[in-house]
């Protein structure tokens, strides 16, 4: 049985990242893709916090602090773009949003 070592945390983090990546590729709905992207971001923060804890340094934690701030701003802008796109095209399916012009 593995103990909850640094390896276990990083393994979990990479696994979450892989699941998020699968979602980004497989889903067709822009919002679902965006949720999967956020999942990938959270997985990376988990790795940073684990490294920080096991090395006794503060930098990873502070970086996660910044990542949380930037992610909040990023979600707001991304969702505003999706809403603007929906108003223009009446769809959020990526296979229908395949042209930059109409």
């Amino acid at each position: 049985m593995i103990t909850a070592s640094l390896n276990a945390y990083i393994l979990l983090s990479v696994l979450l990242f892989a699941i998020g990546f699968l979602g980004v590729i497989v889903r067709k709905n822009t919002l679902a893709i965006y949720i999967s992207l956020e999942l990938m971001l959270v997985a990376s923060t988990l790795a940073l916090v684990a490294f920080s804890r096991y090395n006794g340094t503060m930098d990873g934690n502070v970086f996660v602090f910044f990542i949380l701030t930037v992610a909040a701003a990023e979600v707001a802008v991304g969702l505003a773009i999706i809403v603007a796109l929906f108003r223009k095209r009446m769809t959020v399916q990526v296979d229908e949003l395949n042209a930059l012009k109409n």
Binding site: L12, L15, K28, N29, A32, T69, A71, A72
Partner: protein, 171 residues
């Protein structure tokens, strides 16, 4: 005890991550993502980063997922959406996911990350003191930049969601 908690949270997390990624209904996906965030927050608490655990729930579970749910309700998708089942993208996604999983398995079986046992490393992230010191000394400039970034993001969102004369919406 900590190990049991870790495995419980890890299982919880993976189950709801798969749910968030694969559920057909976007509302279900968002709620699964919310539970995922709760699991990650528990892991942060297990890693003794209490401030980050609280912030994750406040910022992500409180604001981001709520925003997602608002937008999902606002857009009101008619049909629950399927997955990308066109041949080419399906094959490429399976290959890419297989490569990632192979990487993970290789990592799990061969990788040895050198680190001391956790009880010999001081939990520097446990107190607010460390964050405050770092944020007001080493990371003072990034804090200011992030403040401006938030302001600019707010302005950008207002501009993006404003109706501009002459630009017509599809009806």
């Amino acid at each position: 005890m900590a190990d049991t908690l870790f495995f419980f949270l890890a299982t919880f997390l993976v189950i709801f991550a798969v749910g968030a990624v694969l559920s057909r209904n976007v509302v279900n996906a968002a709620l699964c993502f919310l539970l995922c965030l709760v699991g990650v927050s528990g892991l942060f608490a297990l890693l003794e980063a209490y401030l980050l655990a609280v912030l994750l729930v406040l910022v992500y579970a409180g604001a981001v997922v709520a925003l997602f749910l608002f937008i999902i309700m606002l857009l009101d998708m008619k049909h629950p959406t399927a997955w990308n089942t066109k041949g080419f993208s399906m094959i490429s996604s399976v290959i890419a996911f297989g490569l990632l999983v192979t990487g993970v398995v290789t990592f799990a079986s061969h990788g040895k990350l050198a680190s001391l046992p956790i009880d010999q490393v001081p939990a520097v992230g446990a107190s607010l003191n460390g964050y405050a010191y770092q944020l007001f000394t080493t990371y003072l400039l990034p804090v200011q930049v992030v403040g401006f970034l938030l302001l600019i993001a707010m302005l950008g969102v207002i501009v993006l969601s404003k109706k501009i004369d002459g630009v017509e919406d599809a009806s």
